[in-house]
């Protein structure tokens, strides 16, 4: 192997690839809404990798541009460790004001199910009043999805029921029924889902119809594999891009981040998806 190739990692999981791929979406000058669960990990990694100055806003009204020292993964948005390590602590309305004023340039959200228009369901499988599975509810994701400029969905398992054609319930708005329906519902025109990141691939959204299509493949994944495991007739980009594997540095940071998260009781085996 050449030197160039050596800097890439060769053994890693789909979950790790998803985190690395999501983390690469963040830029150093972004103002990121740092939401709980997988996004916490991706934002943490970005901070350690290529975004040392990243300005993060959290749901209970915190600003951060530094990680707590010694580095500690907050167990949630409401971890008290965040307070003496923040530049601002307010209340939830302060956090909402930042969203509604359009100051959040990027947000990542992990979710149970995303449909082809980038809508998300964390509420219910089956009818709302007579649920087959009652999910926990969305928290602040509704507003984050509604008002962040670039929204990145994370789905940690690329299977049909996580990526259905249509949802039983929209908890967080994507492009609703596609085309201009999101704008008609009153959401700011410069907002909306930009990509869906899964262990298999990155999907983007057609500028016209707002339907998600396959844009780029993670290494060693085939177009067929993606299509077979997606809940709708997935459209494919004319030229499907190939995503680089994690670099050695990326995977090192990723795994340390996951260990830090385990220490804080993050549920890394997402067993709850088996309910779905």
């Amino acid at each position: 192997m050449g030197i160039e190739e050596e800097k890439y990692c060769t053994e890693y999981t789909g979950f790790e690839m998803m985190l690395v791929s999501a983390c690469r979406q963040i830029k150093n000058d972004d103002i990121v809404f740092n939401a709980f669960h997988w996004p916490f990990l991706a934002v943490h990694m970005a901070k350690l990798l290529h975004c040392p100055d990243l300005f993060a806003v959290l749901e209970v009204g915190q600003f951060q541009d530094e990680l707590p020292r010694p580095i500690k993964m907050p167990y949630s948005i409401s971890d008290p460790v965040l307070v003496p390590n923040s530049l601002f602590v307010g209340d939830s309305i302060d956090a909402l004001s930042i969203l509604q004023r359009g100051e959040i340039t990027i947000a990542l959200l992990s979710t149970s199910m995303v449909d082809k228009y980038g809508n998300c369901n964390t509420t219910v499988v089956g009818p709302y009043e007579e649920p087959i599975y009652r999910l926990p509810g969305g928290g602040g994701a509704t507003e984050i999805a509604g008002m962040a400029k670039r929204l990145i969905w994370l789905i940690d398992d690329h299977i049909k029921r996580r990526l259905p054609e249509k949802l039983d319930f929209i908890t967080d708005p994507g492009y609703l029924e596609g085309f201009n329906s999101r704008i008609k519902a009153g959401y700011p025109p410069d907002t909306g889902p930009e990509v869906i990141v899964t262990p298999f691939c990155i999907m983007k959204f057609d500028p016209e119809s707002k339907e998600a299509y396959l844009d780029a493949l993670h290494p060693n994944i085939s177009i067929e594999q993606v299509k077979e495991n997606t809940g709708w007739e997935l459209k494919i980009a004319k030229e499907v891009k190939q995503i680089d594997p994690p670099t050695l540095k990326e995977i090192e940071v990723c795994r340390q981040t996951m260990r830090d998260a385990i220490d804080q009781y993050f549920i890394l085996k997402p067993e709850w998806t088996t309910y779905l």
Binding site: S78, V83, V89, Y128, P136, G140, T171, P173
Partner: protein, 303 residues
């Protein structure tokens, strides 16, 4: 006033009850006393219901929750009593009046401000906007008389009674909180009857040392309860850290109904009050969770 007396006097069946704290400073002690007193048909509201609402559902004291989520102990999983209730009607079917986090915050804010509604730029197009149609606190749209746009508005929530757990209060009820407050200040001030549970009772002079930390004034507080560790297993900035192990185990310990019943007996119905609860928790855990001091934030208030 002991928590027992405060809940007896101020919380009645069928009322809408607000619980303060978002992650930090959650009013577990009050919730447990409400369970012990076997209140019925309470409507309960809180920005994030979490395992506190799961317990209120499992104990059968509420049939209607107004919140943005009801997660399990440490992550975005559904809690088991919630699932049993909604999927199987055990112990009873509840109404889950689902809100988004910021929507419910704005509803509390409208209640705080004494106005009937506040606009918000989200929710339209989601199921949260459309459901549940039958239970009142539903958003609507109005036309802005200035810009002509249609915008979502959420109604004020003014609970019958509310309870908060704060770091300190004076004996009259001037209560202070710092760190992560979430919706606590707006929610509690929107309430008609108010219970303040506090880690410490301090002299009024201590309150006046940093008056910006006061979240509610004595003039509207009905009961002050000295209740150390009242927020466990959530954190209280400057007092104790979140009991992650306890919360992590909660999911396993409540997954089947027999285990839940044991859990409830062990931590709630089998103890008399928060002091009893702390005995079950044990000194070792208490010492482990105690916050290491980081005393800071003094500024010059001189003139």
């Amino acid at each position: 006033m002991p928590m027992k007396e405060a809940i007896e006097k101020l919380v009645h069946d069928d009322e809408l009850v607000f619980f303060g704290g978002f992650g930090n400073g959650m009013t577990f002690s009050a919730a447990h006393e409400i369970i012990r007193q076997n209140k019925r048909n309470l409507k309960v509201t809180k920005c994030g219901g979490g395992i506190m609402f799961d317990q209120l559902i499992g104990a059968g004291v509420t049939n209607h929750i107004v919140t943005s989520h009801c997660w399990n102990g440490t992550g975005p999983q559904p809690a088991y009593n919630l699932r049993r209730s909604m999927e199987e009607g055990i112990p009873q079917k509840i109404i889950y009046n689902e809100q988004s986090l910021f929507m419910i915050n704005m509803s509390f804010f409208a209640g705080y401000m004494g106005i009937p509604f506040v606009p918000i730029r989200s929710v339209v197009g989601t199921g949260i906007y459309d459901h549940p149609k039958e239970v009142g606190l539903k958003a609507a749209r109005v036309k802005c008389p200035f810009t002509g746009e249609e915008i979502c508005v959420v109604p004020a929530i003014n609970p019958d009674v509310g309870v908060i757990q704060v770091q300190r209060a004076d004996s009259e009820g001037n209560a202070q909180m710092w760190g992560l407050i979430g919706d606590t200040k707006y929610g509690i001030n929107a309430c008609k009857k108010i219970i303040v549970a506090t880690e410490e009772i301090v002299d009024k002079k201590v309150i006046m040392e940093s008056p910006e930390r006061t979240i509610i004034g004595a003039h509207k507080v009905d009961a002050v309860v000295h209740e150390p560790w009242g927020a466990h297993p959530s954190s209280m900035q400057g007092f104790y850290y979140t009991d992650l192990e306890y919360r992590f185990k909660y999911a396993k310990e409540t997954k089947i109904i027999e285990d839940w019943e044991n859990w409830l007996e062990k931590w709630v119905t089998g103890v008399e009050n928060r002091q009893g609860y702390l005995k079950v928790l044990g000194d070792k855990k208490i010492n482990k969770l105690k916050a290491k001091p980081i005393i800071q934030g003094a500024v010059n208030y001189g003139y």
